[in-house]
Symmetry: C2
Subunit: 122 residues, 2 copies
């Protein structure tokens, strides 16, 4: 395979599943391309909240704004140039702040493959 | 596992193997922690060059400065907020520019596990 370079302008953003707010994901490299990880950009509007049980190992690098991730152990806030690492099965609440946020993410394995069994009929 | 947050100040930088220039890596989550990926920050001095056959799937997010990666197919330059994705086996030349660079990286599997067989005696 060749070396890929991705900019935010390359991403096609779609509403992230499990919420109807202003949280969007744009995969750039994923299960369609034969590699082991999914790479993309995430875009959060102001003051958005997403509650989720993380289905994969998910690393977020904050590019703009701030993201706060809370779980049973506490709360972590990351700003530009900082990393949040979540593990498969972590039950988290992800929040953006007043300015919204932009992130880059890398998941292993591909986050779009492990479909929640209860959502196939919706 | 809990949610982790990492900042550049958390990293302990060591000279990246295979070169004697000013290229440093600071792993924050790796084979010691039981997860599938290695996460860390990379620091490049000005005008550094690293020639390497990438041993793992390696995603770099440029945080500061610019990084140019060249292979047989061409050359890609990424600046702040942009991503470079390299695949296992890619033969690349990685260059920093006049201002140096800072990156975040995520590798799958752990880049420190596949030891080059010729380096165990050095």
């Amino acid at each position: 395979m060749t070396v890929h370079k991705f900019a935010i302008a390359d991403a096609v953003f779609e509403r992230s599943p499990g919420q109807e707010g202003e949280i969007y994901t744009g995969n750039l490299l994923d299960q369609r391309h034969g590699g082991p990880v999914t790479i993309g950009f995430g875009r959060y509007g102001p003051n958005q909240v997403l509650q989720e049980t993380i289905p994969v190992h998910d690393t977020m690098i904050v590019l703009e704004g701030r993201i706060t991730v809370s779980d049973a152990h506490g709360s972590q806030t990351a700003g530009p140039g900082e990393i949040i690492a979540m593990q498969t099965g972590d039950k988290v609440t992800i929040r953006s702040h007043e300015t919204g946020a932009m992130t880059a993410y890398v998941t292993f394995p591909h986050w779009q493959q492990p479909e929640p069994t209860s959502s196939s009929s919706t």
